[in-house]
Symmetry: C2
Subunit: 344 residues, 2 copies
């Protein structure tokens, strides 16, 4: 049986969400699990399953756990004689936001030869940054809503109100505002610029239909049910946050089969060349019967497990089809030929 | 005086180029230097300056050097009592191609809190992948030549011959071919698919003018001279490779001031929001007086030092203006409020 290590925490505005997310997955996953926590100093700790309670982290008690070092091949802890490897097969990257979704951990796991479920470096960059998500979606033929980009405290906008203002590189609706007039704009931008120096502005479409579809790729695509998220105006941080501790199935969106299939087609275009190895959630808008990509969440809260019929099977299938690194043979043929030519 | 550590090698088709590049920079840089080699197992070695000769690496002698571990804050080696930190201020990322230019090392240095000169994660992804370079260039208003993308052994092409075929994710012209007929296409694609499953195809423009401009950002933009690279048909791997050991100034391209300024403007658009902290080289085409971006080289061979009037000053200025990570305060306020609400 495959043994997984859930890596969570990280230096991110979603650090706490990640903890809650990991606690939720502990009960959902029917595998033997290791837990590796990244604290706010970016030190790694090996957490005992019995300590997987939110207070253990907020209180600082986690510092009593074993510290880990990352080396070629995996995580190591100090032992009586030298060091001991933490034995697991595959990491599940559950670090939401910075570190986990911005490509840092992907780069680290690839470099150190740690197999993992989660977005790779390129996939991270295109999903973490909302502007880049749009460039990518357009390239693969998926519609996105119009947008304008503001940078470096710039505040002049061409677009008509109402608009929705989003820091480019954050998830979970942090720093997001709906702005209905020029008067509200300045404050909303101030808030957004707190989180990023790049802001994506979109027209705010009153009452737009929003649907979430999660999925992965194993032998073939595996899709979740389509969910219609509950929202007041839009999901703010606290609402989304509470959502992450959900472990129960939610109700399917009341949509017809053709719309569901259309969303699955758009999901496939997004996922195909970039997201192998990851379980992602695409958030779509439906406007006049057309499907638009809103956001890609490459590490959704608790991996959106509650949207899948059999989440353990999804993890199984994705982990048996992880992307492989290309083998690069380095034989020093160029250097040898130079050395030879120089006669030394 | 700032102390630099040059990190070179890495698992990449350009591993050997990186070694030659590091040896060349040893003599160019007037700073106290440390050398950290990444071997083909991705182990780190602390190389003595006196051993910086290509044969030391090709022969495997480097394995006698001290092995290093990467931990929060930097590189450590075993010492009599515990471990000892390798003391330097800033890394110069000199790993060409995979590992160095694909975002892995950028993610690693950012995660482990190591200051470095080189492209950040997003910048790496957009420069390493030739398709993504085009998406980015178009977004910032820089012209690129037309292209088609082939994937997964696909061979049918819409474009007319002659074309140039490039694996998406490699530098130094590896796997690149000019194809003049349908008969040549299959073989050229076979070669390219050896290196990547994504191929970018462009029209091959006979006799197109090509110019290189390197630069960085310190207090303001610092530009190199504009170089017109010597080429037979295009620079192949061996020619580019030999180029990397150059340490002397080359001759300026014979172009008028207005074209030079135009290239500098295009360089600024490319560099501005993405490449802070890096010294990059943009390779441009000039067609009918218009400037087109061909490629971005985010870690050019020997940092293209020979194109700058005073390369040490460039390094100085870029390193005194490295991008800073946003401070993220994690105060466990959400978890604390939940714990409180639950009364435990």
């Amino acid at each position: 049986m495959v043994k997984y290590a859930i890596v969570f925490g990280g230096v991110s505005f979603e650090h706490e969400i990640s903890i809650v997310s990991a606690i939720a997955l502990k009960d959902v996953l029917k595998y033997e699990l290791d837990f590796i926590f990244i604290d706010t100093n970016r030190d790694f700790y090996h957490i005992d399953v019995k300590d997987m309670k939110s207070k253990y982290f907020s209180s600082g008690d986690y510092k009593k756990a074993d510290k880990l070092n990352l080396k070629q091949g995996g995580f190591y802890k100090k032992a009586f004689m030298g060091e001991k490897k933490v034995e697991f097969d595959i990491v599940i990257n559950l670090v939401h936001g910075g570190d986990g979704e911005d490509g840092k951990l992907a780069g680290i796991f690839e470099f150190f030869g740690v197999k993992f479920i989660g977005p790779r470096v390129e996939a991270s960059v295109f999903s973490f940054n909302k502007l880049y998500t749009k460039l990518y979606a357009k390239e693969v033929g998926v519609k996105v809503v119009d947008y304008e980009v503001l940078r470096d405290r710039e505040t002049s906008l061409k677009m008509d109100f109402p608009v929705i203002i989003k820091p480019s590189r954050l998830g979970s609706s942090i720093g997001v505002s709906i702005v209905r007039s020029k008067e509200e704009l300045e404050y909303a931008l101030d808030v957004a610029y707190e989180f990023d120096n790049e802001i994506v502005v979109e027209p705010f479409i009153e009452g737009v239909k929003e649907y979430n579809l999660a999925g992965g790729f194993g032998k073939d695509f595996i899709f979740s049910i389509v969910e219609e998220p509950q929202k007041s105006e839009f999901l703010d941080f606290e609402k989304k946050y509470m959502d992450f501790s959900r472990t129960e199935q939610v109700l399917k969106a009341d949509i017809d089969e053709s719309l569901k299939l259309k969303m699955q087609e758009e999901f496939k275009k997004i996922y195909a060349n970039l997201f192998k190895g990851a379980i992602i959630r695409c958030d779509f808008f439906v406007i006049d019967g057309e499907v638009y990509l809103n956001e890609i969440n490459p590490i959704p809260g608790s991996y959106a497990n509650y949207l899948f019929e059999d989440f353990n099977k999804v993890v199984d299938e994705v982990s048996s089809n992880l992307p492989r690194a290309r083998v690069i043979n380095i034989e020093y043929s160029y250097i040898n030929s130079i050395v030879k030519a120089k006669g030394k």
